[in-house]
Structure formats: structure tokens, C-alpha cells
């Protein structure tokens, strides 16, 4: 079975631009979470979606938004990019909404110049 997939793998954006990152969960998984990992640090929780509803939100500004589609894939949108948004963005999927282990994708490396 395919694991969690993310696209694109890498991208470079300019300050002030907007970016959309995509995630496809493992087949049958209904929960998708997004994490931001700045270089040298551990991942930080951004959002969790389950059955197309937002279940949790981390301490990120409103420039960050996400949604989940009927096929359970998800998009993370970031507006008005700042240099500090440069990071590895990780998507994780799980079957259940509640606490338990998740399968992580390979991540999207975003560089903001």
C-alpha cells in the first residue's frame, strides 16, 4: 500500500506570496494532521482534520489555513509568506481522530526568500 504522499517535494517562494501544499493520506485513513519543522527543531502541530472537520489547531497565525476534501486528502495554505515560514511541512495520517500513532509523509521543503 502507498504511504502518505505530499506534493510538491520542494518549492521556493518569495516573501508575501501564497503557497498551497498537498497531502494524500493512506487509503482508509480519515484523519490528516499538519506539522511545521524548522531546521534543528522538532515538528510543531499546525492543524488536525477528521472527516473534513477541523479537530485541532496549533499556535499559528491566521495566515495558515487548511481543508480536507471528501476523499480525505488535504491542503495547507499559507498566505503572505514570511522568511520564518521556511521549514519542512509534514503531513501525517491516521485512521482515527483520537490520540494514537500517525504515519508521516516525506514532507515538503519550503524556502521563502
Amino acid at each position: 500500500d502507498a504511504g502518505v504522499t505530499q506534493s510538491p517535494t520542494h518549492l521556493i517562494k518569495t516573501r508575501g506570496q501564497h503557497v498551497t501544499l498537498r497531502c494524500s493520506p493512506i487509503s482508509g485513513h480519515k484523519s490528516v494532521s499538519w506539522y511545521q519543522q524548522v531546521l534543528g527543531q522538532g515538528p510543531q502541530f499546525i492543524f488536525q482534520y477528521y472527516e473534513k472537520e477541523e479537530r485541532g489547531r496549533g499556535n499559528f497565525p491566521d495566515r495558515f489555513s487548511a481543508r480536507q476534501f471528501p476523499n480525505y486528502s488535504s491542503e495547507l495554505n499559507v498566505n503572505a509568506l514570511l522568511l520564518g515560514d521556511s521549514a519542512l511541512y509534514l503531513c501525517a495520517s491516521s485512521f482515527q481522530a483520537e490520540a494514537g500513532f500517525s504515519h508521516f509523509g516525506p514532507g515538503t521543503r519550503l524556502t521563502v526568500t
Binding site: 522538532g42 502541530f45 488536525q48 509534514l90 482515527q96 481522530a97 490520540a99 494514537g100 521543503r109
Partner: protein, 113 residues
């Protein structure tokens, strides 16, 4: 602030030796998990230990959990060069309703051949 913190930040050992890394957290939890990350890529789930468990094994991995001290340790026995990676513990902050993890900054393990 992040819930889990790993110690040491970096560890360098010879192939065949055992590697021990520790994790401390701040609030009560449902589960604690350990993940591995190779060179800034996606996270690989290693093991999950529940708050009512004290020890768990998986292959060459042994995880202990002491909820009274709010700490966990990961032991990798007979290490291999392929174990070179960053290791993160992740906790769920005790809220079972969300699949939301708190990660520390990780332990960077280097296994020399």
C-alpha cells in the same frame, strides 16, 4: 513550549554499542511515541507506549516509561550505521480527543562504522 525534550542533544557511538536517549515531558499523557527521522526527511514511527505500560520491546528497541517522573527512554541495542538519524519522542498532552503530538528537539545519533 514543547512538551517533550530529548537528552542528549547529540550522541556518537561505535557500531555494535548500545544507544540510550531520554525524553522528559511536562503534563500527563495517554501515549508516548518515538519517531526516527533521516536527514530532514519524513518521520518513521518506531514504537508507542501507553501510559499504563512500563516497558515495551520491538526488535532491537526497548522503551521504558516512568509516569511518576514524566520520563521515557529509548534503548537501541547493537547499533548499526543505518541507525544514524535523529530520534524524537512525541506526547499527546493527555487529551485523547485529538491526534495532536508535541515533539522535542530530538537526539541526533551518529553510529560510526
Amino acid at each position: 513550549s514543547q512538551q517533550g525534550e530529548e537528552d542528549p542533544q547529540a550522541l556518537s557511538i561505535q557500531e555494535g554499542e548500545n544507544a540510550t536517549m531520554n525524553c522528559s515531558y511536562k503534563t500527563s499523557i495517554n501515549n508516548l511515541q518515538w519517531y526516527r527521522q533521516n536527514s530532514g526527511r519524513g518521520l518513521v514511527h518506531l514504537i508507542l507506549i501507553r501510559s499504563n505500560e512500563r516497558e515495551k520491546h520491538s526488535g532491537r528497541l526497548r522503551v521504558t516509561l516512568d509516569t511518576s517522573k514524566k520520563s521515557s527512554s529509548l534503548l537501541i541495542t547493537a547499533s548499526r550505521a543505518a541507525d544514524t538519524a535523529s530520534y524524537f519522542c512525541a506526547t499527546d498532552a493527555g487529551d485523547y480527543n485529538f491526534n495532536k503530538f508535541y515533539f522535542g528537539s530530538g537526539t541526533k545519533l551518529n553510529v560510526k562504522p
